[in-house]
């Protein structure tokens, strides 16, 4: 990656590019957003939106997950390789879900 492995000899500072110290405000901000997200999830579940309920719940959960991954797990500042790994995890999960459901949903579609 964009790491230049400067030999860190003195014992001060960061010796590799990935070590990014985030300001405290970011952590607290994310935390607050997660709490708000949880409350909104519960609240939205009580309103009858029909099929939309699921979608709303999933969208909020995904947004929360994204915040955790990007900030708590530092992926925002991580190498492309890390991005690739994270993305492939979710991509494969999607393969499994979508292709399996493809069978269940389309039973009886053709003749």
């Amino acid at each position: 990656m964009a790491h230049d492995h400067t030999p860190a000899s003195g014992g001060h500072g960061e010796h590799a590019g990935g070590h990014h110290v985030m300001p405290l405000s970011v952590y607290w901000g994310v935390f607050l957003a997660l709490v708000v997200g949880t409350i909104v999830t519960v609240w939205s579940a009580t309103i009858d939106l029909g099929a939309l309920n699921v979608i709303v719940a999933l969208v909020i959960a995904s947004a929360k997950a994204l915040l955790v991954v990007l900030y708590f797990m530092h992926v925002k500042y991580a190498s492309k390789l890390t991005w690739l790994f994270v993305a492939s995890g979710f991509f494969w999960l999607l393969i499994m879900l979508v292709i399996t459901m493809n069978d269940y949903i389309s039973r009886g579609w053709l003749q």
Partner: protein, 553 residues
């Protein structure tokens, strides 16, 4: 870098050079080792032991099937035999065969590293493998399992007798061994390549291992969870897969094949990697279309995850889903074809040496082609309806797994044997056994294609009279093939002690592993090499005639 290191074979009896073999002799030095080479040897011993067990089951099965009546064992025993044969051969022999033995030994050597990224985890994965194997054997002797290696519900979860839960747990545990190996390889290949060794300078064996590792870490967890659910269902009747409790047995098949189809590529990609290296070496040529061969491995790994439903055409899966699976199955065959053609092109204008590893490699090309093309039959919905769960399928997968992967395994083992042991096996016997196995193999499994088309279902203890002759032929072939394996077993053991000693590079092959002594020292490289040459750079001096005594001239 380009200098050859081949040295005259030391006269027998001379003091052994220091190597990873001489780095400690006690049992502790083996059982607590973190050296990837020693772990590879541990795997070699245990994987071969499981092959012998699996082959014994096969021998009993073929003996039984020699006649239509069930005269050797009873039905229940027969069912246990093929179940154990499948489970042992797949989970304990073929899946770990090339990755865990050759991969462990070679990945660090080929990329110029001193070890895998996580040596302790590497040892751990061997222990997990051994525990899983021991539990499976325990299940076998304390009641056995008769579900078939596919563990279909609700038979496995509710109706089967025997130790299904224990076997499921054993498979679950073994999965972790596979996952940890894959994880280790992935990280090692990403992070520990020697300076100058860019992705496109890697041997194709490494590309194949990389693709295999991807499948291992992405697929194996799913089978682990799935068999675990089966065990839960069996013990607690939780209702997930049992229709009597509201569950859907077909969901089990989806989850099972989500892993088990990609797993068949775990069982072929490493073999393809071996074949690329062997063919390049014994044609003294760079592999034709290197990057296409490399990327086809990745294409197989990714596409391979989207075709699992071709095992389920007759289950009542929606016709639309079957269609999607069918077309993707067709697509995944294309990268395999690309590889076969590139290997053939590599032979063109080469300098071909028909050594033992090369014979196996050529055998692989032929047999894998037959196995793969008959896989296409099965991928077509209307055709599969008739031959699904018949001996046609049995023949198909033995062609790809035995004709393909086992041939590749034997090829690789012979090819790197001198590197692992510093000694050569007897070449004449090597070629003899190779031809013996090739003939015996075809005699065993070619008739099964015919049997399958005639409609003989698989997993049949009794079968109708009209299938008798072909089955007898198949059993005879198995005996012949068995003799071939026996020969290999004997001369390989012999060679460890009495084989001709060889130098660093008896085949005059390219690649970092051949630039260090045979067998390597514990730390592989005195100093980490800097790579400045392309993969398979056979044009550069290696192929020149030399005076050194080495097997390839």
């Amino acid at each position: 870098m380009a200098t050859t290191h081949a040295v005259a074979p030391a006269a027998n009896g001379e003091k052994e050079p220091k190597s990873f073999w001489s780095d400690g002799y006690g049992w502790k030095s083996w059982l607590l080792t973190v050296d990837h080479k020693r772990i590879a040897i541990l795997y070699l011993v245990s994987v071969v032991a499981f092959f012998i067990i699996g082959a014994t089951f096969a021998a009993l099965m073929r003996l039984e099937l020699a006649t239509p009546k069930g005269d050797v064992v009873d039905s229940e025993t027969y069912n246990k035999l093929f179940t154990m044969h499948g489970v042992v051969m797949i989970f304990f022999f073929l899946v770990p065969s090339i990755p865990a033995i050759l991969g462990n030994f070679l990945v660090p050597l080929m990329i110029g590293a001193r070890d895998l990224a996580f040596p302790k985890i590497n040892l751990l994965s061997w222990y997990i493998y051994v525990v899983g194997g021991a539990l499976t054997l325990l299940a076998a002797v304390t009641g056995g399992i008769d579900t078939g290696w596919t563990f279909y519900t609700p038979y496995s979860s509710t109706y089967a007798n025997g130790q299904v839960a224990l076997a499921a747990i054993a498979v679950f545990i073994t999965g972790f061994s596979s996952i940890l190996t894959g994880l280790n390889f992935l990280v090692t290949i990403h992070k520990m390549r020697a300076p100058g060794l860019t992705w496109f300078r890697l041997p194709l064996f490494i590309w194949a291992q990389y693709a295999t590792s991807l499948i291992m870490i992405l697929g194996t967890p799913v089978i682990a969870t799935t068999v675990f659910l089966v065990a839960l269902e069996r013990v607690f009747r939780i209702g997930i897969f049992d229709p009597a409790l509201g569950g859907d047995p077909v969901l089990f098949q989806h989850l099972f094949w989500f892993y088990s189809h990609p797993a068949v590529y775990i069982m072929i990609l490493p073999g393809m990697g071996v074949i690329s290296d062997v063919i390049a070496c014994f044609s003294r040529k760079r592999v034709f279309g290197y990057s296409f061969v490399a990327f086809s491995s990745m294409a197989i790994a990714v596409l391979g995850f989207m075709v699992w439903g071709h095992h389920m055409y007759t289950t009542g899966q929606s016709a639309y889903a079957s269609m999607v699976f069918s077309v993707l199955t067709m697509l995944v065959a294309v990268p395999s074809a690309v590889k076969v053609f590139n290997w053939m092109a590599t032979l063109y204008k080469g300098e071909i040496h028909l050594t033992t590893p090369m014979l196996y490699a050529l055998g692989f090309i032929g047999l894998f082609t037959i196995g793969g093309l008959t896989g296409l039959f099965l991928g077509i919905m209307s055709i599969d309806i008739h031959v699904h769960d018949t001996y046609f399928v049995v023949a198909h997968f033995h062609y790809v797994m035995v004709g393909g992967m086992v041939m590749a395994f034997l090829s690789g083992i012979h090819f790197w044997w001198p590197k692992m042991f510093g000694r050569m096996y007897p070449e004449w016997w090597g070629r003899f056994a190779a031809i013996n196995i090739f003939v015996g193999f075809n005699l065993t499994f070619l008739p099964q294609f015919v049997l399958g088309f005639m409609g003989m279902p698989r997993r049949y203890h009794y079968y109708p009279e009209e299938f008798a002759q072909l089955n007898l032929l198949s059993s005879a072939g198995a005996a012949l093939m068995g003799a071939g394996y026996l020969i290999i077993f004997v001369y390989m053991l012999w060679s460890v002690k009495f084989g001709l000693k060889v130098g660093a590079n008896p085949w005059k092959a390219t690649g970092l592993e051949w630039k260090i002594q045979s067998p390597p020292t514990t730390h592989n490289f005195e100093s980490i090499p800097v790579v400045d040459e392309e993969a398979y750079d056979y044009g550069r001096g290696h192929a020149k005639h030399g005076k050194e005594a080495s097997v390839v001239r």
